[in-house]
Each structure stands twice: as structure tokens, then as C-alpha cells.
């Protein structure tokens, strides 16, 4: 592309964004002559340059637009929203042509006849409707929509061209023709007038390539780092003669850094340029009146940061307009002015830039958020009760959360607030929100001024040093290696430190009641086996002492990196790696440290991807399921955490992680025998062990065990069993769809997990292997009182019944499961009585809603608590559920929420001494 054309493109793009702004302004203040002449001048310049460069298509469109503007300026036409819409449509067309021009260097093929005919009609003061009966009426629907989308049939185009042609020689046709020379003259005058004010400014600015500035910035950053290093040296050397000059160098360097930073600074107004147009379109589309107020548009920030926050900002403004502001009627009812207000406010605050996005709308509906949180299984009702309203509102930043009941064309395009939050956090920023119901919402974003220098944590693994961006480091944890209590860690009495539990080599860490997947940097980067040139160090003797774990945040999940040493944080300048290394996803770049050595920068999200730990892809998947929720129930939309392990053979097996209480490593010599079956002393009690493969491998020093317990809360009545397996492989978050049902005992079926066929074990089978009485009441007092509450489960999925029944039984309920609503109702008619009913929603024949209506309508169950269990969980679904008569609504696979809900519904312990499944007379 030649220089002339690329200059034209740069200039035109600038003009176009200025035009958008100016046109919206003109619409609000039609009398503003200065704005009008600015618009005219810009369009005229585009047209003129197009003619000069030989871009006929652009020229024609620009010309048609210019005609209208000329007539407006001459006072022949009045500024109306329709007129502005049409001029904007012309600009959109110009934008799209310029876009292709920029990409390919040539004008795209296409026909603008329809657009031009309409524009010409308007410029001649005719409504396209009145004057061109057939042709223009045919294209009339396209006027309000976007021209570039509507494909007019060729016949229509031809007709309208003819109409336009026929109209031109008409008596009033000379107007545009004669206007042309006049128009050509006037802009010059306008430009001259404007030049008076701008000439001095223009001569003082030069256009500099962004890469030149980037390069300068890098050099200065290096200089700053070198300066820091020198200062460090100088401090350790007394009376050195270079102290004075060094001070001066230091000052100059700081000034230089500041100066260079300034060149990269752009007013945040550049990121806001598009917003007035977006808000205008939004207001028209939603039929709301919206006033956009922008304060501090000249607040400057690094252009790199600017680029990165552009999209989140646009999204948030859209959100405010779409969900935040009420419709006109609702506003009136609330006693507010018709016109809603969205304000943007930007200002500097201590090395950060703060952007506030506020609206005076309805505020965040806490009730709706609560309901959503519960459905999604993100929290239980009890947890929510303990939370402040602010904490509840913050749930909107969680992955998979969207308050919009319906996905409108405006928002809900797969970008949720969680993505906004992630994007802002990625550049080291924070986002806060404050919402007062009825009074509106304020989002406050705080971001650093620049990204050129970032803080990084320097760590060592396998004798090599690596940098981890500080942004993604959550905390550092020191942990001991070995089995919890029984471990022979003679040296460390430090009971407070967490212990890394290695289950056949796969390390996990219990961190505040959650399992943190661990990755050893040595293993991940093959640092030990990769010894080259004889210089590699012997393996560090880390295996019997404490280890340092860097806990990194990757999207919504956490990941622990085991490192040998942690040095310090250092300011680094991120540089891209050489092309030959780009395929290594573990590195996001490299840098030169203060001591002059080259160091690789680790990319935690790349590591998470490489190790298969659910990362950002996870939230995208949730996002997608949000989009699907209006359609039929999609099994893909429920994911569940599955623990993968091996036992007996090479095949990977899985069990829902929610069913496993703990993972333990039991030393071989602690496995004893009692009454012919293996047991171990576990937490002061005997725990039965069931080897999944049928026998124990005597060669192993330790035995990996999945501990299952029943969920009872009472101390001393905990029933536990250990399922001995060979190896814990991983924990994956996956949707669970049993593809093949189990042919063997103890296997429910096969599902595809993490891309591999995996046997899902039948937990209830193994539990009964350990203890025939597992599902029988453990506590004799319970027996005496007949105190186990009776539940009826209505669930069509065999698999799900298999999974949920043991959970509920383990939690102390007596459960009867039926596959459909008709069976359940026949039980009612037969006179059976339960304490509560748990029902699926999506079922063939009679769905859960119908079922609960039938239950509520009459019969002995009318007053029973009925809990809905569903993968569908939009607001609408919950409302529907509650309306139909469900007592509570719980997400499928949300075991804890279900148990919580049941505890609330079923008042226990029951004191009545009735038989299980008692008959009602």
C-alpha cells in the first residue's frame, strides 16, 4: 500500500470517529453552526481525497452525504433524527469500505445505489416515500435498518437508480448541481476560518509511528532498571566519587521516563469516542431516553491500557443502558425524570486512573441475584443470609452469572461481567461496585497508568530462574511434603503448615478446605531430565523438606506451582520471545533482569492449559451455556467436578468429587486386618478399606485411599469407608454424560472426561462392599425413633438416581426413587407418605412443573416441601418453579445446596415414631 493511501486511511479513520461524535451533537443541538460546519468540512475532505486517489465508490457515497449536509447548512433541510440516521448510515458504509481498503488495499466491489438514492431523495427535500412511489417504497424498510445489511434485490436497485436518474433533470434538479461549486468554495472558507485557531497547533504536532514510541519506552524502561541497579551498587560503596553524577543521572532518567510516558499517553476520551453513538442507537432500540455524561475525557493514560479497557467500558455502558436504566414508564412510576443518565467520570489518583461508570437506574436487584446464586449452586441460602448485600451483589462478577433474564440484542452477547472483571484484572486493575436499589449503580474501575514495566516474582526451579507476573500471584504457601499426621517428618514440628499430599506422585494441597491442584515446575518444564552440557545441578533435596508453592490465579481457578526458591519481586520489561519459541505456551515472554541475565516469564494460564486444569476456557463454557438456557435443557450446561483415578488396570476411572470426603495416603504398615477384612485406624476410629482392584499391592509403601463418609453432622456417628485405588490422576471439571451403561458391577457406565473414555464408578456399590449396613441407620437412637426423614426422588435419569440416592442416604435420609411423575403420583394415591419430595424438572410425559402442580392441587401431599432439582437455572425457570409450587430450587449436582435445602425443609429430628413409608389411612 502506498504512503498516500495509508495516510488517507489514518486521516479518514480519525475523521470518521470525529464525525460520529459531531453528528450526535448536531442532533441534540441542530442550530449549532460550528458543529455543522465541522461535519461538512470533514465529509467534504473525505470526498475530495477519494476523488484525488481514484476511489469512486467512496467518493459517490461521501458525495451523497455531503449533499444532504450542504442543504442542511443552507437551511433548506432541518436536522431530524431520520436525517441523522441516514447520514450515519452513509458514514457506516464509508467505514466498511475504508475497512476493506485498509485490509486489501482496494475498494471492495459493491453497489451503493439504494443508499445513494435515499440520500439524494432526502437532500432534495423529498421523503423517499412520497416522491418515488414504487421504487423507494420498496426500499423504505431498509431506511431505518442498516443499509449495509439489507440486500436489496437487483430489480429494486435498478429501479431506484432509474428513479434517481429520472428525478435529476427535473426542474429542481439544478439545486445540487449549482450547490456544488458553492459548497466547494465554502468549506475552504470554513477551513480558513478554522485554520486561524488551529494553524499554530497543527505546526507543533508531528505524527510519529507507535512502534517508534514503543521502542523508546522499552529503552527508557531498560535505562530505569539499569539506573536502579547502579544506585544499588552505589549504596554499598562508601565515598565513591560517582555519587554526585549518579544522582544527576538518576534525576534525568526519571524525567526522561516521565517524558516518554507522556508521549504514549492518550486522553481516555479516545476510548469514549464511540459511546455517544452507541448510547444513541441503544436508546432508539430500547425506546428509552438516555443522557450520556462524560467527565474527565482528557484524563490521560497509556495507550496500551487504553486499548485494553475500551471493550470492557463499552460493554459496561451497554449494560447500564440495557439493564441498569428503567424504561420511561417505570421511571415515571418511580418519580424519576424520563431521561435516564449514564455518567462516565475519569480522574487520576495516586499512580492509578480511576474510571467511574454510574447510572441512575434501578440498581442491582438483590433478590434476583440471590435466587440466581442458589440455582447455580454458587452458594447456599444459609451462606447468603450471612452475607452483606454488597457481597451478594459481587456475585455478578462470577463466571456464568448473568442477571439479564433474557438475552437481548444489546447485551448478553457472550461477554459477562466476569469477562470484564478478568480483563481488568489482567492489566492489574480492580473493579468495585456500589448499588442502591432504586437509585442506580456505580462501578469503579482502578487501573495502573502503564503496562510497560510490570512487577514480577522471581522464582527458582531446577536451577533456573523464572519470572511470574505479580498480577497472577495470589499468595505464597510453604508446605511440608508427606502424609498428614502419620508422616515421618521428623524435622518439622510446624503443625500449622499445610502438607502436600502426594498420591502416587500426583501432588495436591489442602488449602483452606479446598484442594489445590499442584504442578511442579521441574516436572512441567522437564528441568531435571533436560540436563545439558553437564552444568545441570543435582536434583534439589526438596523431597524431604518444606516446599514453596506459588498460588496463581488463572481465570476463575487457582493453581499451585511448586518451586525450589522464591527470590524477590522485581520490575521487569516484558519482551516477546523469539519466533522459534512461540509455540511453548508456558512462557508469555522473556526479560533481562537487573543483573543482566536473561530470564523467561511464565504464563500461568498457559501452564494451566498445558496441565489440563480448567482455566479461562471454563468460564467461556459457562458463558455459552448461558446462551443455551432458553433452548431445551442441554446436558452440556451442567458441569461437575470429577476426580480421576486409576485402580486395578490402566483405565482411568472417575467419581464425582462431591461424593469424596477426603483423599488420604495410608502407609502400608498401618493397614491392619480385622475379622478378615482390611481396616486402618483413621482419626481415632477404625475405617474399613476396600481395595478396588480386589487386593492390595504389597510393593507399595503407601496406599492411596478415597475416603467416603456419610454427611451426618453428629460427632461419633460418622460412617466412613476407604476405597483403595492405585493412583489419583486429576480433578477435571466436565459435563457428565454417561455414554455406555455399566456392564460390570461397581461401574455405573462410561463417560468421556477430559477427552478420554472414563469409567464412572458406582459409589453405592462400593459403599455397601465396605459395610452392608451403610445405607441403614447408623445410630440406634434413630432406629428407635424411626427418625430418618423419608424422601421421594422423582428423576428420569437412571444415572442421576444412582448418584443422588447414595448421597441422600448417606446424609441420613431414607430414600425412595421413582423414574417418572406418574409413578410418584400413583404412590400418593396408594397412600404413601414422605417428609419431602425432590423432583427433576425436565422429564418426559409429565415434567416437574406439572407434577408439582398436581401435588399441590389435592391429595395428602399438598403441604409437603417439594424441592426442584434442575440443570436449568435462569431467573425465569426459578420463578416458574416457585409459581408452580416448588418450595425450593436447587441446581443439579449442587450436593451441598440440596442437603442444605433439605435440612431447612425437613424439620429434623422428627419425634413421631411412625414406620418408614407409613401408610395414611
Amino acid at each position: 500500500m502506498d504512503d498516500l493511501l495509508s495516510d488517507f486511511l489514518t486521516e479518514t479513520n480519525e475523521s470518521l470517529s470525529a464525525l460520529d461524535l459531531a453528528l450526535v451533537k448536531l442532533e441534540q443541538e441542530p442550530e449549532d453552526a460550528a458543529t455543522l460546519s465541522l461535519i461538512f468540512r470533514l465529509v467534504h475532505t473525505i470526498k475530495g481525497t477519494c476523488g484525488f486517489l481514484g476511489l469512486p465508490r467512496l467518493e459517490r457515497v461521501a458525495h451523497a452525504g455531503e449533499n444532504i449536509l450542504g442543504r442542511v447548512r443552507d437551511g433548506v433541510l432541518a436536522v431530524t433524527p431520520d436525517l441523522v440516521s441516514n447520514v450515519l448510515a452513509a458514514l457506516d458504509r464509508i467505514k466498511s469500505i475504508v475497512g476493506t481498503l485498509g485490509a486489501t488495499g482496494a475498494e471492495p466491489a459493491g453497489d451503493d445505489a439504494v443508499l445513494i438514492a435515499v440520500l439524494d431523495a432526502i437532500s432534495e427535500g423529498r421523503s423517499p416515500l412520497d416522491t418515488a412511489p414504487s421504487a423507494v417504497r420498496a426500499i423504505e424498510p431498509s431506511i431505518d435498518s442498516h443499509f449495509d445489511i439489507v440486500e436489496a434485490p437487483p430489480a429494486v436497485v435498478e429501479q431506484s437508480v432509474q428513479t434517481a436518474a429520472a428525478l435529476l433533470p427535473a426542474p429542481n434538479a439544478p439545486a445540487p448541481a449549482t450547490a456544488a461549486p458553492a459548497l466547494a468554495a465554502e468549506p475552504v472558507a470554513a477551513e480558513l476560518a478554522a485554520a486561524g485557531g488551529e494553524a499554530s497547533l497543527a505546526s507543533q504536532t508531528i505524527r510519529v509511528g507507535v512502534d517508534v514510541l514503543e521502542n523508546l519506552m522499552t529503552l527508557v524502561s531498560e535505562l530505569v532498571l539499569t539506573r536502579n541497579q547502579l544506585l544499588q551498587l552505589a549504596r554499598s560503596q562508601e565515598n565513591a566519587g560517582f555519587t554526585g553524577p549518579l544522582q544527576r543521572l538518576s534525576h534525568i532518567t526519571s524525567d526522561l521516563q516521565e517524558g516518554i510516558m507522556k508521549t504514549r499517553m492518550q486522553p481516555i476520551g479516545y476510548a469514549w469516542n464511540k459511546l455517544p453513538r452507541i448510547v444513541r442507537d441503544l436508546a432508539r432500540e430500547l425506546d428509552k431516553k438516555i443522557d450520556l455524561v462524560m467527565l474527565g475525557a482528557d484524563t490521560e493514560l497509556d495507550r496500551q491500557v487504553l486499548e485494553l479497557i475500551k471493550d470492557p467500558l463499552t460493554h459496561m455502558v451497554r449494560n447500564s443502558g440495557d439493564h441498569g436504566l428503567e424504561g420511561t414508564a417505570e421511571r415515571r412510576a418511580a418519580g424519576k425524570p424520563d431521561t435516564g443518565r449514564i455518567s462516565l467520570n475519569a480522574f487520576h489518583e495516586g499512580g492509578h486512573i480511576v474510571i467511574e461508570i454510574s447510572d441512575d437506574g434501578r440498581g442491582l436487584p438483590i433478590d434476583k441475584i440471590r435466587a440466581k446464586v442458589i440455582q447455580k449452586g454458587l452458594g447456599t441460602e444459609a451462606e447468603l443470609n450471612a452475607m452483606s448485600p454488597e457481597a451478594i451483589q459481587r456475585f455478578i462478577f462470577r463466571a456464568g452469572f448473568s442477571t439479564a433474564a433474557a438475552i437481548t440484542a444489546v447485551s448478553g452477547r457472550g461477554v459477562g461481567m466476569d469477562v470484564v472483571k478478568t480483563n481488568i484484572e489482567r492489566i492489574g486493575g480492580t473493579i468495585e461496585l456500589k448499588s442502591v436499589p432504586g437509585n442506580g449503580t456505580v462501578f469503579t474501575i482502578k487501573i495502573p497508568l502503564t503496562l510497560a514495566i510490570v512487577a514480577a516474582l522471581i522464582v527458582e526451579a531446577g536451577g533456573e530462574r523464572f519470572a511470574i507476573p505479580q498480577i497472577s500471584v495470589v499468595e505464597l504457601v510453604r508446605a511440608r511434603e508427606g502424609v498428614s499426621d502419620a508422616a515421618t517428618t521428623a524435622g518439622s514440628d510446624e503443625q500449622s503448615g499445610s502438607a502436600i499430599e502426594r498420591i502416587n506422585g500426583t501432588p495436591v494441597l489442602r488449602l483452606r478446605e479446598r484442594l489445590l491442584p499442584l504442578v511442579s515446575l521441574d516436572d512441567l518444564l522437564h528441568l531435571r531430565s533436560d540436563a545439558r552440557g553437564g552444568t545441570s545441578k543435582p536434583p534439589a533435596e526438596t523431597h524431604d523438606s518444606s516446599l514453596t508453592i506459588v498460588v496463581a490465579q488463572v481465570g476463575a481457578s487457582l493453581l499451585g506451582l511448586i518451586v525450589d526458591r522464591v527470590f524477590d519481586t522485581e520490575e521487569i520489561v516484558v519482551k516477546p520471545v523469539a519466533p522459534v519459541l512461540r509455540h511453548i505456551s508456558m512462557f508469555s515472554g522473556n526479560t533481562i533482569l537487573g543483573d543482566g541475565s536473561v530470564i523467561m516469564i511464565l504464563d500461568p494460564s498457559g501452564i494451566a492449559r498445558a496441565t489440563g486444569i480448567a482455566g479461562s476456557g471454563d468460564s467461556r463454557q459457562l458463558e455459552r451455556s448461558q446462551d443455551n438456557k432458553t433452548s431445551d435443557f442441554d446436558p452440556d450446561s451442567c458441569t461437575t467436578a470429577m476426580l480421576l483415578f486409576r485402580a486395578g488396570d490402566e483405565n482411568v476411572k472417575a467419581v464425582p468429587l462431591g461424593l469424596v470426603a477426603r483423599l488420604e495416603n495410608i502407609p502400608r504398615d498401618r493397614i491392619e486386618s480385622a475379622a478378615g477384612s482390611p481396616v486402618t485406624q483413621y482419626r481415632g476410629r477404625l475405617m474399613r478399606l476396600v481395595p478396588m482392584s480386589g487386593s492390595f499391592d504389597p510393593s507399595r509403601a503407601e496406599q492411596a485411599v478415597l475416603v467416603f463418609t456419610d454427611g451426618s453432622t453428629g460427632v461419633g456417628r460418622e460412617n466412613c469407608m476407604g476405597l483403595a485405588v492405585d493412583e489419583i490422576v486429576d480433578v477435571v471439571e466436565s459435563n457428565l454424560r454417561i455414554e455406555l451403561s455399566g456392564a460390570r458391577e461397581g461401574i455405573l457406565g462410561t463417560a468421556v472426561l477430559a477427552g478420554r473414555a472414563t469409567d464412572v464408578i458406582d459409589t453405592s456399590y462400593w459403599l455397601t462392599q465396605a459395610n452392608q449396613d451403610w445405607f441403614k441407620p447408623m445410630d440406634t437412637r434413630d432406629l428407635e425413633h424411626g427418625g430418618r426423614p423419608h424422601l421421594l426422588i422423582v428423576e428420569d435419569s437412571h444415572f442421576f438416581r444412582q448418584m443422588i440416592v447414595p448421597v441422600l442416604e448417606a446424609a441420613g435420609y431414607s430414600v425412595l426413587a421413582v423414574p417418572d411423575a406418574a409413578k410418584a403420583l400413583s404412590l400418593r394415591d396408594a397412600g404413601m407418605m414422605f417428609d419431602a419430595i425432590v423432583s427433576d424438572i425436565e422429564m418426559p410425559d409429565m415434567d416437574g412443573l406439572e407434577f408439582v402442580r398436581a401435588v399441590r392441587s389435592s391429595g395428602s401431599w399438598a403441604q409437603l416441601p417439594v424441592i426442584a432439582l434442575s440443570g436449568r437455572s435462569s431467573d425465569r425457570d426459578v420463578e416458574d418453579g416457585r409459581e408452580a409450587g416448588f418450595t425450593d430450587y436447587v441446581g443439579k449436582f449442587a450436593k451441598d445446596s440440596l442437603l442444605q435445602s433439605l435440612r431447612q425443609c425437613v424439620s429434623q429430628p422428627r419425634t413421631s415414631s411412625t414406620d418408614p413409608l407409613r401408610m395414611v389411612a
Partner: protein, 165 residues
């Protein structure tokens, strides 16, 4: 000292700009006892032994990266690139820095020798029997007095992509 500086002191301006078709100037180097040459105009720098940071998971030809006056340079081990065994004594290696696609690369060699001006009369195409490893990176052979010099093709040596290494 940079090789281009060395060049201006030793050879004529004609040779420097390559206008003299009869003569070509090479930086000569040794790798596994073989004399090789790289056209002097493609050499940015000659470096003594450097501290090289290993890069885990990198292709095996990549010895690591080093800091050349604030720029990060990827070090390519010429022996590994030519499928030769490692230097037996483990002696520190020198390197020749060249640019490819805006990136700097350091070719690790056993020894960098003198800069030579060679006449095209001494030049010959690769013998057909030259092993594949050498033939693909060699542009031809110069017959010198008593020994042969292999002209290395820097562009192809540095055309490392994850696929072709």
C-alpha cells in the same frame, strides 16, 4: 569488537559493498574441525563465551538466550543444528550473531577465526556426496590452500520453526 568494524580495517570498500563480483568476504569459523564461512555482511557481531540462559521445552537446537547489550538473543547451537556430537572438551563456545526477520540469533561455534576475502575462481557447488545435514545448510565450497571452506547459509540455518527442527 564487532566483525563489521574488523572488516573496514582489513578489506577494500568494494569488497565490503559486494560490488566486486570476483571477491567475497567471509567470517570463518570452526565447527567440529571443519572450516566454515559466513558472508561477512550477514554477521552483526562476534561474541566470546557468554552466559546463556537455558530455555526449557525449547527445540534442542536452541541452546538458550543471552543478553547482548540489552537485546535478547536466541542462541542456536551449530553442532546440534548440523547433527554433530557435542564439543568433547566442553570448552566455552564463541558465537556469531546474525539477524533474521528482525530477531537476533547467536550461532554457537567452536572457534571464530579470521575474516577472509575469497575469489570466486576457488568456488564450487556442493559435491553431490555431501551429507544431507551439511548439504541443506551449505551454499557451496571454497578450495583453499590445503583445506576446504564450507559456505554456510545463515538464512536456512536460522529458519527455525517448531515444525522443521
Amino acid at each position: 569488537m564487532s566483525a563489521s568494524e574488523a572488516l573496514t580495517t582489513r578489506s577494500s570498500p568494494q569488497a565490503d559493498t559486494g560490488r566486486n563480483a570476483q571477491e567475497q568476504v567471509f567470517v570463518t569459523l570452526m565447527v567440529a574441525d571443519q572450516l566454515c564461512g559466513i558472508p561477512v555482511l550477514s554477521v552483526r557481531d562476534v561474541l566470546g563465551p557468554q552466559t546463556i540462559t537455558r530455555i526449557p521445552l525449547a527445540p534442542q537446537e536452541v541452546a538458550g538466550s543471552l543478553n547482548l547489550r540489552g537485546r535478547i538473543v536466541t542462541a542456536i547451537d551449530l553442532r546440534r543444528r548440523l547433527r554433530l556430537p557435542p564439543e568433547p572438551t566442553g570448552a566455552p563456545q564463541m558465537s556469531v550473531v546474525a539477524e533474521q526477520g528482525g530477531e537476533l540469533y547467536a550461532l554457537l561455534v567452536d572457534q571464530v577465526a579470521e575474516v577472509m576475502s575469497l575469489r570466486s575462481a576457488q568456488f564450487e557447488r556442493n559435491p553431490a556426496t555431501l551429507p544431507q545435514e551439511w548439504a541443506q545448510y551449505s551454499n557451496g565450497i571454497y578450495r583453499l590452500l590445503g583445506r576446504l571452506l564450507v559456505v554456510l547459509d545463515v538464512a536456512r540455518l536460522l529458519a527455525l520453526t517448531p515444525e522443521n527442527v
